[in-house]
């Protein structure tokens, strides 16, 4: 399937976005829904007031979005199908939705009937079928602050809606694949909504990938809103395996109700510039969040993981583990803020970040932050930065394993460890395969 690509011509000013919006609006899903039009317009205005985040903002101290200014990144009007196919994800899925440049590709997707109480469809379809419901979900998420989220709200072209009613359970994961095309300098904004009713359980794998060997410089900006009702449980895997020139920002905004569980793994191996954010709020007691992640960088990649967890209620637990491997001139950033409100007694929050620097020019920046206003809590964080463990290296070599292979084993083990700790059989293998692909490319390819 081929379609033509005609990105609008733009300059890099705010007006450019306004022009692009006006041109694009007739094609965006939900047009004609007054509340949605208002939402989009308000968001666009907020974005224009605030502008693209810059390094003067504390939150963006280590990461520059200069690339967004440099390229026009106009929203892509129509999409080209991608060839050759990259890895999509686990073969056994309950459902698979494929989007190319943020537009739904029905042919490549697989949306069976999943039974009562479970709805998986596109945002566009949901806006037609259940607009009131979507209105409710989007409004709740309207508080997601930040210029990039506003940009997303204004331009969101499509996305996935995964809804489980109370008690509904999915045994196999739902796979959401966001594929880049060859639309040079294009921008795509996708919005996903995941809502689990009381006691519901699901796994969602969100992959942002480019065709093999793609060199396209495109901007993808994703926002996924997650709402978990009491005792619901969601495993949310976010994988970024884009081409080496891509720019990617993604944010998960999560609300966890009483006794609900959110387990997330964010893996970044591609893109020139990638920032994966998690904003987690406990809306009641005894919720739990496990935020895990891994970033593997080489060349001139800049990979940023930023998490914010708000313990607004008592008895909640957070466990965070992020590991990074940085080679060549790659730059890895981890920022983790844990906020504990005065009444959030019994909070247990632990965070760890470990970065491995493999070359003389690799850079690691880490800022684990604790803001604690309650006393009866247990909070801890740890961070380490260093090279491969020389004892480990010697142990492997003393068993006959060559230095190159020993390094590969140690790096694989370093990241394998965080994947193992996260757990979940199907997911673990899928994630490890991504890591192996990165290692193959790093060891085999030419990279500065």
């Amino acid at each position: 399937m081929t379609m033509t690509v005609t990105p609008t011509e733009t300059t890099t000013t705010g007006d450019a976005h306004l022009e692009a919006f006006d041109a694009l609006a007739p094609e965006l899903p939900g047009r004609g829904l007054e509340w949605l039009d208002t939402l989009r317009h308000d968001a666009l205005r907020r974005f224009e007031d605030a502008g693209i985040p810059h390094r003067g903002l504390e939150d963006w101290k280590f990461t520059s979005l200069g690339a967004l200014d440099k390229h026009a990144f106009a929203p892509v009007r129509t999409a080209t199908a991608a060839d050759p196919r990259p890895e999509f994800g686990p073969v056994d899925c309950a459902a698979r939705l494929v989007f190319v440049d943020g537009r739904f590709d029905a042919q490549e997707s697989d949306l069976p009937d999943l039974g009562p109480g479970i709805t998986v469809n596109t945002l566009a379809a949901a806006l037609q079928e259940t607009p009131e419901l979507i209105k409710g979900l989007l409004s709740r998420a309207g508080g997601a602050a930040g210029a990039l989220s506003d940009l997303n709200a204004a331009f969101m072209a499509d996305g996935a809606v995964v809804r489980l009613d109370a008690g509904a359970k999915l045994d196999q994961p739902v796979s959401l694949v966001f594929l880049g095309s060859n639309a040079e300098d294009g921008a795509s904004h996708v919005r996903n909504l995941i809502t689990l009713g009381a006691g519901a359980e699901a796994q969602v794998i969100e992959s942002h990938v480019d065709p093999n060997g793609s060199q396209t410089a495109a901007f993808s900006n994703a926002v996924t809103d997650v709402g978990l009702a009491e005792t619901a449980a969601l495993t949310h895997i976010r994988v970024q395996e884009l081409g080496p020139n891509a720019v990617h920002t993604a944010r998960a905004v999560v609300e966890i109700a009483q006794d609900a569980r959110y387990e997330s793994f964010a893996l970044a191996t591609g893109a020139a510039l990638s920032r994966q954010e998690s904003d987690v709020t406990f809306t009641s007691l005894n919720g739990s969040a496990r935020l895990f992640g891994a970033y593997l960088g080489r060349g001139h990649q800049h990979l940023d993981h930023t998490t914010r967890v708000d313990h607004a209620h008592p008895g909640c637990t957070t466990e965070e583990l992020f590991k990074g491997v940085l080679d060549d001139r790659a730059h890895g950033v981890f920022q983790g803020l844990v906020r504990v409100a005065p009444k959030a007694i019994g909070t247990d929050a632990r965070q760890k970040n470990q970065a491995l620097l493999l070359s003389d020019h690799a850079v690691a920046d880490t800022k684990p932050e604790l803001e604690i206003l309650a006393d009866d809590v247990k909070c801890a964080h740890g961070a380490t930065v260093g090279d491969l463990d020389t004892d480990g290296l010697f142990y492997l070599m003393a068993r006959g394993i060559s230095k190159a292979e020993a390094r590969r084993l140690l790096i694989g083990g370093f990241i394998g460890d965080v994947i193992d700790r996260f757990g979940g059989d199907a997911v673990v293998q899928f994630l490890k395969d991504c890591v192996v692909r990165w290692q193959d490319q790093t060891d085999g390819g030419d990279h500065v």
Partner: protein, 491 residues
Amino acid sequence: MSTPDPMRDTMDEVRTLTEADYKFGFVTNLNADTIPKGLSEDVIRLISSKKDEPAWLLEWRLESYAKWLDMQDQGEPTWAKISHPPIDFQDIRYYSAPKSDDDKPKSLDEVDPEILETYEKLGIPLKEQEVLAGVAVDAVFDSISVATTYKAKLAELGIIFCSFSEAVHDHPELVRKYLGAVVPQADNFYACLNSAVFSDGSFVFIPEGMRCPMELSTYFRINAAETGQFERTLIVAAPGSYVSYLEGCTAPMRDENQLHAAVVELIALEDAEIKYSTVQNWYPGDAEGIGGIYNFVTKRGACRGRNAKISWTQVETGSAITWKYPSVILEAEGAVGEFYSVAVTNNLQQADTGTKMIHLAPNTSSTIISKGISAGRSQNTYRGLVRVNPKADNARNYTQCDSLLIGEECGGHTVPYIQVRNRTAKVEHEATASKISDDQMFYCQSRGLEAEDAVSLIVNGFCKEVMQKLPMEFAVEAQKLLGISLEGSVG
């Protein structure tokens, strides 16, 4: 005692004169040594002339002032987690003379009994209490002779230890060489202000190979009562030398001046070691946080020679607002930087303190141990930076920050920045936050200790690693100080 006050009459005279003379620049030939509030180039010229400073130093001050004015246009820094009403820089008196003996209490009987009670609790010997309370000098005969003996002995060894003002006159070449060498004039807003209007401070020079035989604490304590608000201290350790310097005082110090913006520069040359300890208990304000002192300090040490070592140890229990980051720049191979800190905040105090360890050369190492204790409705933040530059091969850092929260209304925050640009570095950072364990409390109480004493014991245990770094004579007092600072926080 109602004698006519010659001081007051002269002050009126002065005010008339100076207000008139502002248009014309210099004010000369004053009998009295106070000037009105406010900051201007004239005030700076006045300060410099009162101290009889050489032209180069006046120039240095004026340059700083010009830079500060530029900074002022951009506004005071606001990134720290502290809040205070804007400071009116024109409402500060930038120069005041030492009190004349007439104004001082004649004996401890004239001193506020509450202050005396604190001295008792801290176990300060009577004679020292007199000095601290500012009892007129000629009534404290012993102290003067003690001070004079020490100074003479040091001079014999080639050690220079005097006030900054004296150093400007007696050792101008040294001062000129090292002033601003670690904290340049425009380094930050308050350091810049200090560079323009600094009053006095200490100057220490330890000659090559010399190990200073006494802790420069004992001597300094005797003069603690005279500390100015824009203090400037410079310590230089020549190759192979060693000095341990203690600044401050466990006794609560009041000062009519609210803003304290000091600058301390340390320079350690090859194989030299400087140990700088601070015990700070400036008046924290009343239970509603009114009237306390703002302690905005820039302290930085540079390890300029191979294997140089600089250690900062601080016990901060006072001030309404504490804002300081004693730092070490590890510029030469094998340099070592250390930071040990206990910061206690109670009632409505705010502290945003920490350190910066900058690794620039190979084989450097740094250790950071920070213990923050918050109680009442206070906010206590550790803010630190560990930076390893590309050339800093084999850099090693270990950081441990622990927060202890007492009560439900206080806050303990940790904001570390770790920036590593060399792969042979090993950087490890750990932080924990918790409250005093119920088990520990119960254990102490079941052995007969009252709640407050139990807290004091546990808190001291929490801080032990840091307290052990203090010069011995102060460790004991500092421990008591911790207990006193947390009074009223439990139960």
